[in-house]
C-alpha cells in the first residue's frame, strides 16, 4: 500500500496562497483557523524562501508521542489522524509539531484551548468514511473518494506535491537532475527521517 506524503519544493513556491484557500474551502474550515499556511522564512534576508506548511503526516509523529490522552492514530497509508472526541485541548501537540500544524480555536471552553484541528491529508477522521459527521468534524475525505489533497492539486507551480511518497520523491528527483538541488525538499528530512526524497 502507498505511503502518503507531502513534498514542499521551496524553489517553486510563489506565495500565491492557492493551497491555503483550496484547503479552507474544500474542508469548510471555520473562521480563525487555517490548516495550511504559506510561511516565509529568512524574510527580507539572503536565503528567503516561501513554503506551504501544514501537517506533514510524519513517520513516528511527535504529536503522537507527546499526546497524553492518545488521540492520534496512523492509517495504513501513513496519514496521521486524530479524534476530536478524545482531544482535551491541552496543547502539547501545538508546542511539539515542527511544522506548526495543530490549530486551536480563538475561544476555548472554560479557559482551555478547545479541540485541536489540523490537516487530515483530506482523509477525514474516525467517523464513517464520507459521512456528514465526518465532514463536519474533519472536512472532506477525498482519499476515500479516490482523490488526493486539494491543496496540492490546486498548486499552480506544483511546489506542493501530495500522494504516494515514492511517486512524489521520483518527481522531485527528476527536478533535481534538471535544475540542481536548490533549497531542497523543505521539511522532508524532519518529517520522514532516513527516507531521502
Amino acid at each position: 500500500m502507498a505511503r502518503m506524503k507531502f513534498l514542499v519544493d521551496a524553489e517553486r513556491c510563489i506565495e500565491c496562497n492557492a493551497c491555503v484557500t483550496a484547503c479552507k474551502n474544500e474542508n469548510e474550515i471555520p473562521w480563525g483557523i487555517n490548516r495550511r499556511r504559506v510561511v516565509t522564512i529568512n524574510d527580507g534576508k539572503p536565503g528567503e524562501r516561501s513554503i506551504s506548511v501544514a501537517c506533514m503526516h510524519c513517520s513516528d509523529a511527535p504529536c503522537m508521542a507527546v499526546c497524553p490522552v492518545d488521540v492520534f492514530y496512523e492509517t495504513d497509508e501513513g496519514v496521521v489522524l486524530h479524534s476530536k472526541d478524545l482531544c482535551i485541548g491541552c496543547g502539547y501537540c501545538f508546542y511539539a509539531c515542527p511544522f506548526g500544524a495543530p490549530q486551536f480555536p480563538q475561544v476555548g471552553n472554560f479557559g482551555s484551548r478547545g479541540k485541536m484541528d489540523k490537516c487530515t491529508f483530506c482523509n477525514g477522521g474516525p467517523e464513517t468514511d464520507k459521512s456528514d459527521a465526518e465532514f463536519k468534524k474533519y472536512g472532506r475525505n477525498r482519499l476515500a473518494e479516490g482523490k488526493l489533497p486539494l491543496c496540492a492539486e490546486m498548486c499552480s507551480t506544483k511546489a506542493l506535491l501530495a500522494g504516494d511518497g515514492d511517486v512524489v520523491s521520483d518527481i522531485y528527483r527528476e527536478r533535481v537532475v534538471s535544475r540542481g538541488f536548490g533549497s531542497g525538499a523543505w521539511g522532508w528530512g524532519r518529517a520522514y527521517p532516513g527516507q531521502g526524497a
Binding site: 472526541d85 478524545l86 506548526g100 471552553n109 474516525p126
Partner: protein
C-alpha cells in the same frame, strides 16, 4: 572533564577582587554542604570549542542506581500531573511549579529533601504559567484563562484576574514589580496592575496564539512572541503597538529578555531554530545550532551568566528531551543534557546555575546537576507512564489508563490529580468528595454516579452533560468502549483491591502510584 584548565579558570573567574572574594567565600560554604550542593561550573567544554567535544549526560530510566549520590533526593514530588511551569526565586530557596493537575505548588528548596509549603488548587484549568514576585511574598499562577495573585504567607488569593477567553501560556512581571503581563491562546496579551487588582491595556494584533511575553529592562516596552511566527513590541503603558520586531515565519514557543546592558531577546521556535535578536532594532545577534525538533523553554541565570534552552528531538521511533546550556555574551555552549523519557516543557536554574529544575511528562520536577556533570541523573516514575501504557488486554482497563488516569486515581488517595478520585464512585453523589475543589456546577448537581450517568457523561460529553464542569471536553464515541470502561470502573473503583493491597502491607501512596 574535557578541557578543564586549573591554571586558567576562564570565563567564570572575574577580574574584580571583590567578586573573587565573594566566589571564594561561596565556594568554601558550598564545600561544607552535602555532596549534592558541592558544585562548580565547568567552562572546559566552551574553551575546547563547545559541546561537540563533550559527552552528553543522559538520564537512565532503568534503576534506582541512577539517583543522585547526595544524601537526599532533590526532586520535587507532589504534583498529580505533568509539570509545565517552574520559577525559582533569586536566592533559590523557593520554587513555584504549575501542573496539569490544575494546581501550583510553592516549595521550600532549603529543606532537605525539598518540601511543599503550599498547594494552590483553585484553578479551573491546567497551570501553564507561574511567577514568583521579587518581593518574596506574592506569587502568580495562571490556570486556564485566569491568573491568581497569591499571598504566599497566608495562602489567600489577593486578586483573581479574568479577561482572557482562552488558556494563558505565559506571565511576565514588570521590572518594578507593579504589573504583570499575560500571553494567551486567545491571541492577545493583557496587562494587570498587581497593586490595585485592575486590568490594564489589552494588546491585540497577533494572528495566532501568543506563547511568550517579556518586559524591556526599563519596563516601557513589552515584547510578545506568537505561533504566528512574529515577535512584536508594544508600549507597555498604553498598550499601543510599536512594530513587528522580527518575522521568524514558523511559530515561536519561548522567548525572554536577557540580562545585561544591551536590550537582547532570546527565542526558540517550533522549527528547531533559536536566535538572539536586538530588542530595539530586531537585528539578528546570534543563531544557535539548529535542532531537529522544537525548542520549548528557556532559563536564564544572570550570575554567572548562563542561558539554557530545552526542547526535544526524534530518537528512533520515540522522542528525547534536551537541555543545552550556553554562556551569555559569546553564546559558547557549556553543557548538554539528554533525557530519553520525552520533552522538557519547563525549567529554571538552581543555585549559581549549577543545577536545573525541569519538568516533562512526569508528575515530578527533576533536577539535573549541570556541573560537574553527572554520568546519570535522577529519574522519576515508571516508563511507560500510567497514561502511555499500551499492552493491556482488558479494553476497559486500557480505556481508563489512556483516557482517564492522567487526571483520576481509583484509590482512596486522590494523588493530587486534576480530578477527584474515582474510589467508590458508584453511588456517590456528584460534587461531594470532601476536600476536592469542585466547580459550582458539580457542587449544585443532583447527579448520582452510576452506569447510566457515566454512560451519559461520555456519550454526550462532560460539557454537554454538566455545563460548567472543569472536566475537559472528552467524549468516548464508541459505545463498546464506553461499556467496557464502565464495566472496568465498577470493579476497579469498588475499593476491594485497595483493601486487599492494604492487607498485603502496602501504603495508600504506593497503591495510588501503581495506578
Amino acid at each position: 572533564m574535557p578541557g578543564k584548565d586549573k591554571k586558567n579558570p576562564g570565563w567564570f573567574w572575574p577580574q574584580s577582587l571583590q567578586m573573587r572574594a565573594l566566589i571564594f567565600g561561596l565556594g568554601a560554604f558550598l564545600l561544607m554542604q552535602p555532596v549534592w550542593h558541592g558544585v562548580e561550573i565547568d567552562a572546559g567544554a566552551a574553551e575546547n570549542g563547545g559541546a561537540a567535544t563533550a559527552p552528553v549526560a543522559k538520564a537512565d530510566a532503568s534503576s534506582d542506581a541512577s539517583r543522585p549520590a547526595g544524601p537526599f533526593d532533590p526532586s520535587l514530588r507532589g504534583h498529580g500531573g505533568p509539570v509545565h511551569a517552574i520559577d525559582l526565586n533569586e536566592t533559590k530557596t523557593r520554587a513555584l511549579t504549575g501542573s496539569f493537575d490544575y494546581s501550583s505548588i510553592l516549595w521550600d528548596l532549603s529543606a532537605k529533601p525539598p518540601k511543599q509549603i503550599r498547594r494552590f488548587d483553585k484553578h479551573d484549568g491546567w497551570v501553564k504559567a507561574v511567577a514568583l514576585h521579587p518581593d518574596g511574598r506574592r506569587a502568580l499562577s495562571a490556570g486556564g484563562g485566569a491568573i491568581w495573585l497569591w499571598d504566599t504567607e497566608s495562602g489567600e488569593a489577593l486578586y483573581q484576574f479574568r479577561g482572557h477567553s482562552a488558556e494563558i501560556s505565559a506571565i511576565a512581571l514588570s521590572p518594578d514589580g507593579r504589573w504583570a503581563a499575560s500571553a494567551s491562546s486567545d491571541r492577545t496579551v493583557r496587562l494587570w496592575n498587581l497593586e490595585t487588582g485592575k486590568a490594564g491595556p489589552v494588546l491585540k494584533g497577533h494572528k495566532g496564539p501568543v506563547n511568550a511575553v517579556a518586559f524591556s529592562s526599563d519596563g516601557k516596552t513589552l515584547y510578545s512572541a506568537s505561533y504566528d511566527g512574529t515577535i512584536r513590541s508594544w508600549e507597555s503603558g498604553s498598550g499601543k503597538f510599536k512594530r513587528i520586531l522580527y518575522r521568524h515565519g514558523l511559530g515561536i514557543n519561548t522567548m525572554a529578555r536577557l540580562p545585561g546592558g544591551k536590550e537582547l531577546l532570546v527565542f526558540g521556535a517550533l522549527d528547531g531554530r533559536a536566535l538572539v535578536i536586538d530588542g530595539t532594532t530586531g537585528e539578528r545577534v546570534h543563531q544557535f545550532k539548529e535542532r531537529q525538533g522544537p525548542y520549548l523553554a528557556n532559563a536564564i541565570q544572570e550570575k554567572p551568566g548562563l542561558l539554557a534552552l530545552s526542547g526535544f528531538e526524534k530518537k528512533g521511533s520515540g522522542i528525547a528531551g534536551f537541555i543545552h546550556v550556553f554562556r551569555l555574551g559569546d553564546w559558547a555552549p557549556i553543557e548538554e543534557y539528554e533525557d530519553p523519557r520525552g520533552p522538557i516543557w519547563a525549567m529554571d536554574f538552581g543555585a549559581i546555575g549549577a543545577t536545573i529544575y525541569y519538568g516533562g511528562k512526569d508528575d515530578d520536577v527533576t533536577v539535573w546537576q549541570v556541573s560537574p556533570r553527572r554520568a546519570f541523573e535522577t529519574v522519576s516514575g515508571p516508563i511507560p507512564r500510567r497514561f502511555e501504557v499500551k499492552n493491556i488486554k482488558d479494553q476497559g482497563e486500557l480505556q481508563f489508563a489512556r483516557k482517564c488516569s492522567l487526571c483520576h486515581t481509583l484509590t482512596s488517595n486522590g494523588g493530587n490529580r486534576a480530578g477527584p478520585t474515582l474510589y467508590r464512585l458508584f453511588g456517590r453523589k456528584a460534587g461531594t468528595l470532601p476536600g476536592y475543589p469542585y466547580s459550582d456546577t458539580l457542587k449544585n448537581s443532583d447527579i448520582v454516579w452510576s452506569a447510566e450517568t457515566i454512560e451519559l457523561l461520555f456519550g454526550l460529553g462532560p460539557n454537554h452533560y454538566l455545563p460548567g464542569t472543569k472536566m475537559p471536553l472528552q467524549k468516548i464515541a464508541d459505545p463498546k468502549k464506553r461499556e467496557a470502561l464502565i464495566a472496568y470502573l465498577k470493579i476497579a473503583s469498588d475499593g476491594e483491591s485497595e483493601d486487599k493491597s492494604r492487607k498485603d502491607g502496602k501504603t495508600g501512596k504506593e497503591i495510588s502510584k501503581e495506578q
